[in-house]
């Protein structure tokens, strides 16, 4: 879910990517859970139920992962997926809350389907989405077969992805959540896995969603704050570790409070009524020093055609024709952008 910093991000810190070729040659660390949830929510049958194979196993996440990753690679983008590990101790309240919300939504969806209220059922079934360990394992097997690297984070995937980007091993983190910025990612790309024409939830309205890059340095500079202060603002609004934030305090008030008083400690002195499920200073400490690893390999390999067909067509009943067509695109992308590397003209520009 993550913190919602949208209102706070200044316009000049945000840039729309009109053509994915702008990201050619760049390594992008994708928050795998975030992407898989997006695929599970977006790739559905008309009645709202996810795609399934003949054994009743959900395959929406594999469909999204396969076709979207190929689409990114066709534009020369080098994807690396970062998977969540164990949630940190400070997230237990939110983990429990999400579990309960999903169970409730699943019950409501079932009831709505039984009563023929399809639109309502569809809404609840999206809320009831759960990414199982089996789905995660099948996604990793597919990535392996596609020759796309993934990193298993010890804890939060976004924290690990931000760490990879901070070290310079990736150009940006891709996620719908803003948390990567709090974890110190120099750049966040939003809407990378869901760009295109999308239906607004609950409405019969379609909008064109384009990816956008948000630069941390520009955000901090424009707001005149440090990363630690940005985290303090997020804690006041509400993060994954204190989802309710401080009641009555939205992004603008939180920003003004931190700007005026300097730190969370000082703001909390004037907000004695504020309560948190976890020590807010521990939350800040976690954003600043999350549990991450340095042992990972980012290498792209030639796609293994037979294994991909085995996983998608034989195990999960995907159409052979569609998979083979996509494989041609994947192989072409690999030959063009991964076996060798295209340089950019930027290195030959005259220096001013």
């Amino acid at each position: 879910m993550g913190v919602n910093l949208r209102e706070l991000i200044p316009e000049d810190a945000r840039r729309e990517i009109t053509d994915l070729r702008e990201l050619m040659g760049k390594v992008v660390a994708l928050d795998a859970y975030n992407a898989l949830y997006q695929f599970l929510a977006a790739i559905r049958q008309p009645d709202g139920t996810p795609l399934i194979d003949r054994k009743g196993r959900v395959t929406s996440h594999l469909s999204g992962l396969f076709y979207r990753t190929i689409n990114l690679m066709e534009h020369g983008i080098k994807p690396v997926y970062v998977f969540d590990g164990m949630p940190p101790e400070i997230k237990r309240y939110e983990v429990e809350r999400r579990r309960m919300r999903r169970e409730k939504a699943a019950e409501l969806a079932e009831k709505a389907y039984a009563e023929g209220r399809v639109e309502e059922a569809r809404k609840y079934s999206v809320q009831a989405i759960r990414l199982t360990q089996e789905m995660v394992e099948s996604a990793k097997r597919l990535l392996d077969a596609m020759g796309v690297p993934y990193v298993q984070a010890p804890s939060e995937g976004e924290a690990q992805a931000a760490h990879i980007a901070r070290k310079g091993d990736a150009w940006a983190v891709a996620s719908q959540d803003y948390d990567a910025l709090l974890f110190g990612a120099p750049r966040l790309i939003r809407n990378l896995t869901i760009s295109g024409r999308r239906k607004l939830p609950g409405k019969d309205v379609y909008v064109e969603i384009k990816p956008e890059v948000i630069e941390l340095d520009k955000v901090l500079k424009a707001l005149g704050i440090t990363r630690s202060q940005l985290i303090d603002i997020a804690i006041l609004i509400g993060t994954d570790y204190n989802p309710d934030g401080v009641p009555g305090i939205g992004p603008k008030s939180a920003y003004q409070l931190i700007k005026a008083h300097g730190s969370l400690e000082k703001v909390l002195k004037i907000l004695p009524q504020a309560t948190f499920p976890e020590d807010p200073l521990k939350i800040r400490e976690y954003f600043l020093n999350p549990n991450v690893i340095d042992e990972y390999k980012l290498e792209w390999h030639e796609p293994d055609e037979k294994r991909i067909i085995e996983i998608l067509v034989h195990e999960h009943d995907f159409s052979l024709d569609r998979v083979e067509n996509a494989l041609q695109r994947l192989k072409k992308a690999y030959r063009e952008y991964f076996r060798g590397k295209i340089t950019s003209l930027d290195m030959w520009f005259k220096r001013k």
Binding site: T18, D19, R21, E22, M24, G25, G76, K332, R335, E336, R339, G340, K341, I342, T343, S344, L345, D346, W348, F349, K350, K352
Partner: protein, 253 residues
């Protein structure tokens, strides 16, 4: 801003703008009262840069009051010009808010297409700093035909040069095609071979040469300029002194 230009070959504009529309949505065209017109554009991945220069003298008529930049939607412009033939002259007219492309046929009939000018901010593309030792000059239609054949064979273009001449090679899993150009066979009009090293080969993504293939068929001559592991510069000499320079960054295998 008021401008009115007349150019002898509308088809040239059709090919250049259509080729650019495959890579870009909008483009800025700079017009100078004395120096003429310059269109400089770079694809979003910064692998290819196009520098289209038409000196004032290349126009039949050239009336530009002050230095100005017009920004146009390439898709619209190329649609307007898609029926331009070799017998059509091009008229460009603008009052500052709209741009009219006029196609004047041999009989003097003018078909006009008017579109709004865009208010997008013009970003100056910096100059490249390249010293390229090899120059291989050949005929435009030969290059167009070679690139068209090569594009069917693969996605990677290898340009190999030695003391004898230049080879364009495309390969894929299916095989390899090599087109040899040399002064001895008359396929190179002019050739300055490599000095140090005496032979080398660079590779490029063939897709960026599709643009050149389209325009080369209208060019009198095309010159490839190369150095080891450097971008390739391709100069197409067009009618009436117009010049199209295309730069493509190399691949590292």
């Amino acid at each position: 801003m008021v401008l009115e230009l007349r150019f002898a070959d509308a088809r040239l504009w059709r090919y250049v703008l259509r080729g650019l529309a495959d890579y870009l949505d909008v483009v800025g065209i700079k017009l100078h009262p004395d120096e003429g017109l310059r269109l400089k554009a770079m694809d979003p991945s910064h692998v290819m840069m196009v520098d289209f220069i038409i000196p004032r003298t290349a126009f039949d008529e050239y009336h530009v009051e002050e230095e100005t930049v017009i920004t146009i939607n390439l898709e619209l412009a190329s649609k307007a010009l898609r029926r331009a033939t070799k017998n059509d002259r091009l008229v460009l007219r603008s009052d500052g808010s709209r741009l009219t492309f006029g196609l004047v046929s041999k009989g003097g009939v003018e078909r006009c297409f008017t579109m709004p000018l865009l208010a997008t901010k013009y970003e100056e593309i910096p100059e490249l700093s390249l010293e390229l030792q090899v120059q291989a000059k050949t005929l435009g239609p030969s290059v167009a035909s070679a690139l068209s054949i090569l594009s069917e064979a693969g996605e990677i273009l290898k340009i190999s040069v030695d003391q004898e001449g230049m080879s364009l090679i495309a390969s894929s899993e299916l095989g390899e095609i090599e087109m040899v150009f040399s002064p001895t066979t008359g396929t190179l009009i002019d050739y300055q071979p490599p000095s140090d090293p005496p032979q080398f080969a660079n590779t490029y993504s063939l897709e960026y040469f599709e643009f050149i293939a389209k325009v080369a068929r209208l060019s009198e001559t095309v010159t490839f300029k190369l150095s080891p592991d450097m971008p390739c510069e391709i100069d197409a000499e067009l009618s009436s002194g117009a010049l199209l320079k295309v730069y493509v960054a190399p691949r590292v295998e």
